[in-house]
């Protein structure tokens, strides 16, 4: 009698609660933000390495001998312009204007390309002068930190071209809007990292 009561009580109860509706890709933004935060940690490690090793020139060239602040200022301007043009691409995307979005994305890509070209010119100039990554701990950590940022910009450009092709083929569909928003976060994040680079590496290097 009593046992039957307990079995009846212990009978598992299933709450058929409605799964709360998640639109497809509804959590993509948060997931992508978490990726960016982990990327941020990679850069923190590289900044720490540069901070520790940045003064070890082993009688090689120091930042003052190598850095050209005019070039860095130009580079920073390129990245800043690309940030605002990407912002305009997002605004035109909101209005659903495909051609204008594509145009702003193309302008962003060109600014990104200009940034990369200037950076590669700077690197080749330094290597030509004998300031190779193998020269000193300062140069190893410099090339690792700035090179990693440059690599991110390169992949951002590949992603940008891919998305422009996607938009050209399928238009501003929901999936493409989501992808463009992810790239927007990625692109602006790279700009944030660059603020750290030009302050911590270039400007502080010139002060040393």
């Amino acid at each position: 009698m009593a046992s039957s009561a307990t079995t009846a009580g212990a009978e598992p109860v299933f709450h058929l609660e409605e799964e709360h509706a998640h639109a497809e890709g509804g959590s993509t933004m948060l997931g992508f933000w978490l990726y960016l935060m982990s990327d941020c940690l990679i850069f923190a490690m590289l900044f720490a390495a540069y901070g520790v090793l940045g003064g070890n020139y082993t009688a090689g060239p120091a930042p003052k001998d190598l850095f050209d602040l005019d070039l860095v200022a130009l580079n920073t301007a390129m990245l800043l312009f690309s940030s605002i043009t990407y912002g305009f691409a997002m605004l035109t995307m909101d209005k659903g204007r495909v051609a204008a979005t594509q145009a702003w994305l193309a302008v962003t890509g060109l600014f990104g390309l200009a940034f990369l070209s200037i950076e590669l010119y700077e690197f080749s100039h330094m290597i030509h002068e004998g300031a190779t990554p193998q020269r000193s701990a300062f140069l190893s950590s410099f090339f690792t930190l700035v090179g990693t940022h440059g690599l991110h910009v390169t992949f951002g450009l590949v992603w940008l071209v891919t998305l422009m092709t996607q938009v050209a083929r399928f238009g501003l569909v929901e999936a493409n809007r989501r992808r463009l928003m992810c790239l927007s976060m990625f692109w602006h994040f790279l700009d944030v990292v660059w603020i750290g680079v030009f302050t911590f590496v270039y400007l502080m290097g010139m002060l040393r």
Binding site: H20, A21, H22, A23, G26, M29, L30, W33, L34, M37, C40, L41, A44, M45, F47, A48, A49, G51, V52, L69, V72, A73, T76, A77, L80, S83, I84, G87, F88, M90, L91, D94, M181, M185, H188, F189, D191, V192, I195, G196, F198, T199, F200, L203, M204, M206, L207, R208
Partner: protein
């Protein structure tokens, strides 16, 4: 049901990825141009004689500019994704601070104590 779905979508549209406005982007851009130009000018012209002071000032400008970018370009606020974005950001910042200050602090003291000449090697047993 349909009302619930609608509310959910609404929540996502606003809580998930808020969109910037033209004005927001413009304010962010102008601010970051100013916040970039001043540190460059300070270093290039050497307006402040003391290098230590210049370094502290440009670091402060960098921090302000990062906040500007976060707010105006990455639309960071306490409400986005129900606060989870902000929580992840705070957690990351704590780790970043630990990594940076820890590395610099430990390695600075290591360098200072390993400096040749600090301990006279001839007196070593």
């Amino acid at each position: 049901m349909s009302a619930h779905d609608h509310a959910e979508d609404h929540g996502h549209a606003h809580g998930g990825a808020a969109h910037g406005s033209f004005r927001g982007y413009l304010i962010g851009f102008v601010l970051s141009v100013i916040l970039t130009a001043i540190p460059f000018w300070l270093v290039m012209s050497g307006a402040i004689d003391d290098k230590q002071a210049t370094a502290i000032v440009i670091m402060a400008f960098a921090v302000v500019q990062i906040v500007v970018h976060m707010v105006f370009f990455l639309y960071m606020n306490t409400a986005s994704e129900g606060g989870w974005s902000m929580l992840a950001l705070i957690f990351t910042l704590i780790l970043v601070v630990i990594v940076l200050t820890g590395s610099l602090w430990v390695m600075y003291h290591l360098n200072a104590n390993m400096m040749p000449g600090l301990h006279d090697m001839r007196e070593m047993p």
